[in-house]
Each structure stands twice: as C-alpha cells, then as structure tokens.
C-alpha cells in the first residue's frame, strides 16, 4: 500500500483496487473457477452430447457411462447435457435478477441519499419492511400465485433483493452529497438527475461491483431453493434447482445419486467461486479490511 501511495503517477483508486484484486490468491482462484463454469454454461451446445430435453424412455435411469457421462434421469434424458444447459438457466436467472435488484437498489438508494428528508425516511422505512422477512419467505409466498416462468422468477428475486444495495448506495451518496464537486455542480444549476447519475454514481460503481457479486450468488441460491420447493423454473427446462428437486423423490435420492449430485456440486462450486471473487473485491476496494 505504501508503495502505491508513494508512486509518483496519479493512479485512479479503481485501478489500484484492480491491482490488489489481481494479487489476491482466492480472488484469482474464484475467477478461474467461475470462468470455467461460465464457459461450460455459455457454450453448453458445444459440450453437450444430447439434446437436454430429448427423452428416451428406453434409456431411463442409467448410471454414468461413456455413453452418458453423468447417467440419465427417470425419462432417459442425459444428465451431463442437462447440467450444462441447467447452468445456463441458473446463471441467467442469477445475473438478470441481480441486475434487476441493482437497478431498483441504485434508484431507491440514490433518491434516498440525495434528497434526504421525508423521501429518505419513506424509502428507508420501506426498506426496513422488506428486510423484515428472509427473502425466501416472501418470494415463496408470492411465487405460488404469480405463476411459473423464468421471467417471473427473475423479477421476483430481483424485486425482493434490493434493500442491501439501496442502503449501500444511500450511504455512499450521503457522504458524496456534501463533496465540493457536487455542491459546485448544484450551484451551477445542474439538474438533480444529471448530478446523481453523472457525478455521484461513478464513485459508487466500485462498491456496487462487490455487492453485485453477492447479489448474483443470492439470486442463484434463491432460484435453486425455489425450484427445490417446486415453485421455480417450470418443466421441461432444466435448471440446477429443479434437477436437484428430483432428489426429493426417494428412489432418485437412494438409487440415482448421479441425477442430483452434479447440479448440487455445480451450485456449490459456483457459489464458492463467486464468494471468492466477492471477498477479493471487497478486500481490494477496502484496503483496511486486509489484515
């Protein structure tokens, strides 16, 4: 840290953070893991060996073999292919829902921090109300009556996951609001909207990035949890969550571990990778945090 501070060149704080991130061993490990998972999911059609939804009753319930790397399920679909394609869906839900929650969180947190007063009061109390429930409780309740579908799952998760982000953004904006460049912009008569998004947001981006990684994790886990309880991604689309759900039927749990271990391990690895990355990001952005 000292060397960087002493370096004669003016380096942006975000760049410094990147340098620290690159040297964080867990962050690097996590990034590599995550990139592998991402490639497997993105290029699922390249790596798969069968159509993920193609069933073949004659080949049902087969243990792993050279024909089927991870075996087949109860209607003869290839688990390897479904795990890859399931990853696509799970990650899509993870990213999209995290994005939705970021957008809502940034807008509400920004408004709250910038305007203060009763706007702040109202938004923060609303945040308190939403935070009173563990997400899965409230989402499960709503999920049962809005119906199944990938979009529904994305929006449900996104719309109930923003409070953390909102608080983060509010805190940042609150501290920046009094900074000179903001006050200067205000005195020049810049519109509030412009000030918030042009002057304040760029400084909020870095901490947001760290919180985004955790939001993705949260969303992937929520999707899996909801699908596990039977209200997530509808059939026949595979997702890690609804593949794992088959383990709730006893013959699969007992006699077909190949059907549920792959998605379980993928969820675990994915969450682990993102936690590594998130941890690295947090350490990188907040040097005091490294001990």
């Amino acid at each position: 840290m000292l060397e960087i501070a002493a370096s004669p060149k003016a380096v942006s704080p975000n760049y410094k953070a990147w340098l620290r991130f690159r040297r964080h061993p867990l962050a690097v490990l996590g990034s590599v893991m995550f990139i592998i998972i991402l490639i497997l999911a993105l290029f699922a059609p390249v790596f798969d060996r069968y159509e993920p939804n193609k069933l073949s009753l004659a080949d049902k319930f087969q243990a792993p073999s050279m024909e089927h790397f991870f075996g087949t399920d109860r209607v003869g679909r290839d688990i390897w292919s479904r795990t890859l394609h399931g990853g696509r869906v799970s990650l899509l839900v993870g990213f999209a829902a995290a994005l939705v929650s970021m957008i809502v969180g940034v807008i509400l947190g920004g408004l709250s921090g910038y305007y203060g007063g009763w706007v702040d009061m109202l938004i923060m109390r609303f945040t308190d109300v939403i935070m009173t429930f563990p997400q899965v409780v409230i989402i499960l309740t709503v999920a049962t009556f809005v119906g199944q579908g990938i979009l529904n799952v994305i929006f449900l998760i996104g719309l109930f996951s923003w409070p953390g982000t909102a608080r983060l953004v509010r805190g940042q904006v609150l501290s920046l609001r009094e900074e000179q460049f903001v006050v200067a912009a205000q005195s020049l008569g810049a519109r509030d909207f412009v000030i918030i998004f042009k002057h304040i947001m760029p400084s909020v981006i870095a901490p947001l990035l760290a919180s985004l990684t955790f939001a993705i994790n949260g969303a992937v886990l929520l999707e899996a949890g909801l699908s596990f309880l039977g209200v997530g991604i509808p059939l026949p689309t595979a997702s890690w969550g609804n593949m794992l759900e088959t383990a709730r039927s006893l013959d699969v749990l007992q006699d077909g571990p190949w059907m549920w271990i792959p998605p379980a391990v993928m969820i675990l690895l994915n969450v682990l990778a993102i936690n590594f990355i998130g941890d690295g990001l947090r350490d990188a952005l907040d040097p005091k945090h490294i001990v």
């Binding site: 867990l26 109390r125 609303f126 308190d128 109300v129 935070m131 009173t132 429930f133 563990p134 997400q135 899965v136 409780v137 409230i138 499960l140 309740t141 709503v142 049962t144 009556f145 886990l221 899996a224 949890g225 596990f228 309880l229 039977g230 209200v231 794992l244 383990a247 749990l253 007992q254 571990p257 549920w260 379980a264 969820i267 675990l268 969450v271 682990l272 936690n275 590594f276 001990v291």
Partner: protein, 317 residues
C-alpha cells in the same frame, strides 16, 4: 438508552407496514377455505361454489377485512387454518417451540464451535490449521441448507443408516431428551454449518484486529503470562463484536429452517410454512409471516442494543 428508545419507536410504524404488506400480499392471491371442500376428482358445480362462498362470507371490502384481521391479531386471535380448522395461534405456539429447539441447538453449536475455532486459528495466523479451516469456512458459507440437507440425509441416513431420516422423536415410546438430541443431530447440524462458518470467520477477524491493539501490547509488556493475555484480555474483547452478528444471523437461520425442516420432516414452523404456502392455507401463512417479522424486528432491536453496549459512540449518532 435514548438511542434504543428511538429505534423502538421507529419500529412501530415498520411493524404496522409489515402487517399491511402481509395482508395485502395474501389478498392478491386466490384461495379461500372453500378449496378444502372441493374434491378435484369429482369436481364442483358453479351453483355449489356460490353456495359455499356465501356461507363463508368472503365478500367484504379490503379495508374492512384488514381492520378485522388486525384487531383480531392484536387480541391474539389469528383465525383458523383453512386446512383443518385448527386454531392458528395455538398451532404456531407449538410449532414455534419446536423450531426454537432446532434453531437453539444449531445456534449453540455454531456459536461455541465458531468462536472456539475462530480464536484457535486467529491465534495461529498463517498456520496449516488457519488455511485449512479458513478454506473450509468458505465451503461452509457457500453451502445452502438444501444442499447440506440432501447430502446429510443421503450420507448419514440413507447410506450409512446411522441417524434417523426425520421426525423429532421415536414414536410409540415415551419421549426422552436423548432421543430428541439423536433426532436433532442431522437437522441442527445442517442448519449450523453456515452459521458456524460465519461466526468462525468473524471471530478470527476480530481476534486478529485485537492482537494489534495497544492494550494487548501493554499487557504483554507488563509481563503477564501468555494464556492470561489470550483469555482474559484478547478473547473477551474479540468476542464482543461477534455477539452483535448473532442477532443479524436470524433471518438466515429462519430461511435455513424452511429447507432443513422440510428435508428432515421436523414438525416446526419452517416445514409448516412451506406446506401452508403450497396449499394456500392463508391464515397459517399470515400467522407465520407475522411471527417471523416480530422475531426479526426484535432481534434487530437487541442487536442495536448490543451495539450500543459494545460501542458507546453509537449513542451519540
């Protein structure tokens, strides 16, 4: 104290907003007691449906129904379950107790284990144990309850047959504490994993921070024996901030209980909630949400109080 009172006052409107949210959400949903009178395999005619709807008087406006529900709720009357007419409040008391047993077990295991291990590795930074346990703690915090639960069930119950697959006691014999503990190992263990890892990480971090603190150096300089420095000065001070984390872990525990209880058929509030939501037994759903909200709000308050005690500066904020 003033700070605490202020937090308490803020929480009152929040609580009312929570009740409105619960009632409003449930009102958007279809479903009423009639569902439990209809046999889908036989079907029901429109005339019969109308007959039943009138019987149950389901046609008041929203505000009236909300007001009725709220005033009943304050009198401790949470209504009756659609499913079988049980008194919701009564069922909840029983179920909550069982969930608290489970959560209490998980929480004690994770606090004791987490703090001890945290101190242990905190004192040995960069040792083999530090790396091993820190690594494991990452797996721990990445392990959702439904995966830990399924693995636990598969390994210890289905494959090895060491532990019961569910329930909270052996039916048919008088209940004993040991029998309860025996049934608790898997579900409480599942629930504890994530918390244990979290507490361990916090303790470790806190120990590392305290190690640098001036008063520790002073104590060492005074020539106090190592163990005394460790236990009397360091650990005590290191644990205090961890105490505040416990309150914040409650929502996670509740969410975990939902899955854990479902997987191990633990007859608590979590499995009841999943059941009730899936069959739309709304009085029950609302009752449980209310209890969860109360518990979380209370935990937040206590956490605030604990913060205040640990860090006096907060009072002047």
């Amino acid at each position: 104290m003033q700070y605490f009172l202020r937090r308490l006052l803020i929480n009152i409107p929040v609580f009312f907003a929570v009740t409105l949210l619960i009632y409003g959400l449930i009102n958007l949903a279809p479903g009423d007691p009639i569902d439990f009178f209809v046999n889908e395999e036989v079907g029901i005619s429109r005339a019969d449906l109308a007959f039943l709807e009138e019987q149950f008087g389901l046609n008041d406006p929203f505000i009236v129904r909300y007001g009725k529900w709220l005033s009943n709720t304050f009198r401790g009357d949470l209504g009756f379950r659609f499913k079988n007419g049980d008194d919701v409040a009564e069922v909840l008391r029983e179920r909550l107790q069982r969930t608290l047993i489970l959560m209490g077990g998980a929480l004690s295991v994770s606090i004791v284990g987490g703090v001890l291990l945290g101190v242990f590795i905190g004192m040995r930074q960069y040792s083999f144990w530090d790396f091993a346990l820190t690594g494991l703690s990452f797996v721990g915090i990445s392990m959702p309850a439904f995966i830990a639960g399924i693995f636990g069930l598969y390994l210890f119950s289905v494959k090895l047959g060491w532990l019961p697959s569910g329930g909270m006691r052996t039916i048919g014999v008088p209940p004993t504490l040991l029998d309860l503990l025996y049934h608790m190992i898997l579900p409480a263990g599942t629930l504890a994993i994530l918390q244990l890892a979290t507490f361990m990480r916090y303790t470790r971090f806190s120990v590392l921070e305290i190690k640098q603190a001036d008063f520790i150096r002073t104590a060492k300089a005074k020539g106090l024996p190592d163990y005394q420095v460790t236990w009397r000065h360091m650990v005590r001070n290191a644990i205090l901030p961890v105490v505040t984390v416990i309150g914040l872990s409650l929502p996670t525990l509740v969410a975990g209980a939902l899955f854990t209880e479902t997987i191990y058929s633990w007859p608590g509030m979590g499995s009841l909630f999943v059941d009730a939501v899936l069959v739309r037994d709304y009085p029950m759903v609302m009752g449980i949400m209310l209890v969860i909200a109360l518990v979380v709000l209370l935990a937040n308050l206590l956490t605030d109080l604990a913060y205040g005690l640990v860090d006096p500066r907060i009072r002047f904020e």
